[in-house]
Assembly symmetry: D2
């Protein structure tokens, strides 16, 4: 574009301009670009690099441009290539010579690096809020159903009884780790790159610490070449987002399974389900399915950005422009997913009787029988084998454990006695009274502890 | 949305509607949707499933809607969820009861499957055209520089002299394979799914073969469950696109390296380069860099769609809606990349003297020396070792091969005699007179053969 | 290693030798390497490039080496770097000067390209056999359960009744497409690269067509630079493998869900399930789960190889050595998965009564009610809405459709009359008498057609 | 296998045993498994769950088994499925009833979770050591070449002069961030899962805090369901490894380019390069190329594990077994790459005169000219345009900036005067005297600061 084609005798081809422009998506950075330019102008004036009067004109002009953009009065001309050029060109229209001084002691390379860091910091804050909101929804439904028992599954096979809130707290923990990752990413992002120039630093008496303070950064970057070529913080966000979407996909999978007629464990609110264009009876868990499906998108973005960065020589290569759409899509997808999942979990209703019925089915207490024999003095391996045979016998006879008489029990171990009938879902739960276990008292304490963490 | 929420008492939440809508991106399918609905209406009338008069009203209405969309007069209401519902709703506004009959003997599941196949077929044709255009550009620059010699590289080290057109033909071959893949993908896509209903087929006397003919498909799908859940053809397109972008990324890498001051092998046209916001002297190969960078995007989309499809139970799950944006982005990225690369290659200028200078540098003819010894009766391994030592000696002495006297040669093998000085870049090229080799006659023949293939 | 370090004065560092060696994994190619070298020696003799007697010694020596390897008597020395060097070094030990002539008119670059193509062709044949075997297993269980009815699902919600064999045939179709892809990949692979040399062709009167014939290739590569740098055929195999694993992951997901106590649709053979280290009652569908999990591995390999190839300049770069482990892992994973799935499907037992019970549940016939109204003259949209409301009413009243009396029906549409009670699962199936539909006669015909295709 | 197939009447099929076994790769965990079992036995005795004498027998037996494995006397029988079962089976052989008690109050699910966390913690420590070693190598070569000037590049075009140590410090910074990420990952991993049982906790009075202390963990997991299904820490390692390999791939790319004859900036030690099987003169940067290529592998593993985890219902699914080979491969690849890169950088020699020559080429000081005009009172945009035209003029006239006379300068801006000739590479470097900039004093300070960080 004209500002930067000084040595060129002809313009870029139309298809090239379309191919290389970024304004259609980087206009999203307008606010951060103006924020950065404002601080930059202030610093230039403070250091005597441009006159204070020019800085004032610039800052006022930028403020007006922000208004124009927010009121929809700003024309994003594709020929201006990117948001940075578009704003600068408008500023020059407005302020003439003053505006032509804004880009002193700055390059698009460090300007872009700044804008995207400012943006990322904002979006990490937004992400953390949504994570907390989803944790809140999960915790609320867990607290509201403290005593509900459900089958715990491994391999999708009924394994041992667990409390529903215990199951929910597993997701709470996953989301807590997600928060830790995004917080670490915030620290990685919170380093100010402006003042790195195109790649080598700048030949002006700039004050980078002042810029960092103005813009709310805790530190400045240490190497100018690294500063303009580094996108680690974006990759870190994308990796954290991929893991978080993986968590959501697991929750989604369970919700989809639980809403099947065969499980029928929960009822999703109508506001979070959709119908069919042809089958009038359908009530589909589309939100959960889409969340599960969108996991692919976030994984793909991570893989895309990693691929783009692979093998790039220092310092800046235009390949890096490919960082943005990819990143914006991950930010949008993750945040909207967290938001709808929070709403969905908040309105989900349990069918606790169906869950209970499922707990009664099968040989869910077999492990408890083995542990019973251990307490009676058997070694665990022997106990495990004996109960395995007993279960096999019972299944063959079409009987539940309760339906076996004591003689049948004793065929498999002489250690069985009448108290074996005291083993129940409730005794099984209560017995798992260890930190992290599913006994009612432990789960109650865990709910409280989670609520406390959340309220911080 | 109202059409399909018959059993529901409340609407979807706003955030849910936003999350689940697809109209913002699937409106791109409007033309194929109308094409499919038109054929469907015609078939319904032909089979007596709806009155011929209704079909006429429907077809006329659809044609008007196409006009409204193409003239920008159509309102894409987000609450209508997707392009299919939006068009049907407008049709009902226009035609009343007739429009309410269009969805007879059809489900959104087979309708979407049809639309996306029609779209994919069109875009494969477009992709093939752009591949051919890029091949044409490459062939033209190869033909125009038939006699230009350049170093062939392995490990980025100068290996053996090659003709520039020979190097270009390597890319021609890659693109030929890309075409084969897209053609195979066309055949895979060219199967008509309409008539599969939601998943089980339809209880109406429909004529699927007629639909296939009307819509230009060579066959109909064989299993209704598979038909609504199959996205193989999109994955196949995305895999072919990923391989094709990999090819472009290799070409791009070479162009970037060749435009460096150190190589300085080519000059890209100003229309295909850009300047710097700060360094006035810069002329950057941004188009090549962006093409290389966009490889990540296309890889990411492939990975995203594969992930989304992983582990989905039959038949249709809403996760599948995630196929579209991903796919559209790959289609757009690949096609625009092919287009700008064709333009870029078409305007590229060689600096053949610099290439020649690079050929003279170093010990590029060392392999020819070894082959010389083999022709004199040495075994290849001995010859290779002798020349290895000779090169090491020459490098140590700071001499080129030409600068060594015959005595020095003979220190490494008694088989060297005066004719060793006849070995030259030209003799090296001419000697590689095997099919696929870089001798001038073979390369000439290959250029002709390539031109013939292209003109088909 | 010594053979190729002629100009070097010191050996590679130990950690470098470990890092760069490939013999620990490319020894798998020994058979193809010997096959290629044998044909090469024969061609060299035929063309008078080496004496016939030397060729005989070489061929005999190679045959002996094959024996040594297959009998475990061959020492794979890591310092010999790769299988090609290891075999050549042993050959030289055995045959002296003759062996030192084998590498005449050849480079490791085209040798590796040849070996990996020979290997890939073999493995595609093996893959196709296993695909066919799995199709056979699926078809057999489908044929054995022709009349079994199950719920068809969309969104994991019960949608419409389908025949179990119809559901199975969906997988049969997916695997048929996989076969098409592997066959296309075979054609892409079936092109002979030997004679391309390091990158530029060879200065010897070689006969590449003879090599192609000896080695069973249908064509020779057209450009020497492309020939040594092309790995498209491996990427194509990996992309086809990724799609195929995606299909297996969908089947696996269904099997896992179907073996849950809540669905309880099938019984997997004990030989294809495993127990728990702690819960004696468990019978877990581990094979299906591992197959689903291994999908990630195959996707990852595809992504890995695509990444490795991105941005590589021509012709050969050492990065390409990374193609092999990745590829071997995909070949092994896909083939073993196909094999165990074939066994698992072959021993799977249906619990057809449970499937039937699930069909009876809910409002699975709602679509049929809507189609009933259409046949009575209602437009589809009106019919769909009316039935939606009727289902909502019935669900509220806790009644099945059968339990509604005709007055209740008529509250929602005056078109309902007594014959509405004739709608049944059987009538629903029979009505879907369209090509690809689930009616018994169509499914029977589809089974026969599938069996015919398979027997070809 | 027999221990856990109590209820089964037949063994797993041979192909199933092969498919599901993990001992061929998880035997790598033997040390951590024994460490975990030893602590578990000690805890069981301390809590009175098993007799102290049994615990002593167990611990002694485990110690012996460790010896057997380390001395190669242990038979890893594939039918024992995994390392956990293999060790337990051997323990029972040795200790009879005592050994049969070891698995009391434990499940393979929490046992595996423990082992892999112990392993990961160890490998993070190893990774950090290798990162530090590579940083040391980079810093040493930077310090040894403090005054070497090279062109700084953007878009592979010469941009501005930089000091070589400044360029190296960019990589130092990248590796510092990598360290931060691995340290964060260590904290995430350092949480003890044992005591979670299969999924629900355990019905024994275990002491999890004691276990954590014995095994050197800082905390215990908070939710048993989460504990057995969580692999976040492995994904976090893999994401950090992917970003780190991306950094190495950038360095590798530069080394490959720098060793080209055209750049000729560096000389890699023979111990870190390899020769050609056919071209005697070649000295290839294979280590750098392989490192660049292996980036694909590490990306692929990340994608593979993310895919495997997608959509898995809680708690444990056998898919999770797929975590290990993938992870081990990433650990091995990253660590060996760091190690060989440290060696390679440590022996790299600069060709500083060639670098200097490259700096002199072209219009590298154009930005300095623009900044000169700014200091003379011009606005930056005007200055940039004027210099752009001046460069265009000079290039057309075939002159360097130095060769232009003052009149020619003044055609483009009246502000040019005689002092323009004072602009030099040295003045350009010195002027960039800002934090993070490339002026000699800043770079010196940065080297010192880096050395201090490293010595911590």
């Amino acid at each position: 574009m004209s500002h930067i084609r000084g040595r060129f005798q002809k313009p870029a081809e139309k298809i090239v301009a379309d191919y290389t422009q970024s304004i259609s998506f980087d206009k999203r950075l307008y606010r951060h670009d103006i924020q950065g330019s404002t601080a930059h102008a202030r610093m230039l004036a403070k250091q005597g690099i441009i006159p204070a009067a020019d800085a004032e004109l610039i800052i006022k002009g930028l403020e007006e441009i922000r208004g124009e953009i927010e009121q929809g009065r700003f024309e994003f001309k594709p020929e201006l290539e990117d948001i940075h050029m578009a704003i600068e060109a408008r500023l020059i229209e407005k302020t003439g010579e003053a505006g032509r001084k804004l880009h002193t002691a700055r390059s698009r390379n460090d300007q872009v690096a700044l804008d995207i860091r400012l943006y990322t910091k904002d979006e990490i804050v937004n992400t953390l809020e949504r994570l907390t909101a989803l944790q809140g929804s999960i915790l609320t439904v867990a607290e509201a159903n403290k005593a509900v028992v459900m089958p715990g599954y491994t391999h999708m096979q009924i394994a041992q009884p667990v409390l529903f809130p215990h199951h929910m707290l597993a997701y709470f923990e996953m989301l807590s780790r997600d928060e830790d990752r995004f917080r670490a990413c915030y620290n990685m992002t919170d380093v100010m790159p402006l003042g790195s120039g195109a790649l080598a630093g700048l030949p002006y008496p700039i004050d980078r610490e002042f810029l960092a303070q103005e813009l709310g950064f805790k530190a400045i970057t240490k190497n100018s070449i690294d500063a303009v070529s580094d996108r680690d913080f974006m990759l870190e966000y994308e990796a954290a987002a991929a893991i978080c979407m993986m968590h959501l996909s697991r929750l989604a999978e369970e919700l989809v399974i639980w809403t099947s007629a065969e499980f029928d464990f929960i009822d999703l609110d109508e506001g979070y389900t959709t119908g069919s264009s042809i089958m009038p009876q359908k009530k589909n868990p589309d939100v959960a399915e889409l969340g599960r499906g969108k996991t692919g998108r976030v994984y793909g973005n991570l893989m895309g950005l990693l691929t783009t960065m692979k093998g790039l020589p220092l310092a800046y290569d235009r390949d890096l422009q490919e960082d943005k759409e990819n990143f914006f899509d991950t930010v949008d997808t993750l945040q909207s997913s967290l938001e709808v999942f929070a709403g969905m979990m908040g309105t989900m209703k349990l069918k606790s009787q169906n869950m209970r019925r499922a707990v009664e089915r099968g040989y869910i207490l077999a492990t408890d029988l083995a542990d019973y024999l251990v307490r009676k003095g058997e070694s665990f391996r022997n106990a495990h084998e004996a109960v395995g045979k007993l279960v096999s016998y019972a299944a063959g006879a079409g009987k539940s454990l309760k339906q076996l008489d004591i003689k049948e029990y004793q065929q498999f171990s002489a250690r069985f006695s009448q108290d074996v009938y005291e083993i129940s879902v409730e005794s099984s739960l209560a017995a798992r009274d260890v930190p992290g276990g599913t006994s009612p008292s432990r789960v109650n304490a865990a709910l409280k502890e989670a609520r406390q963490r959340l309220s911080k």
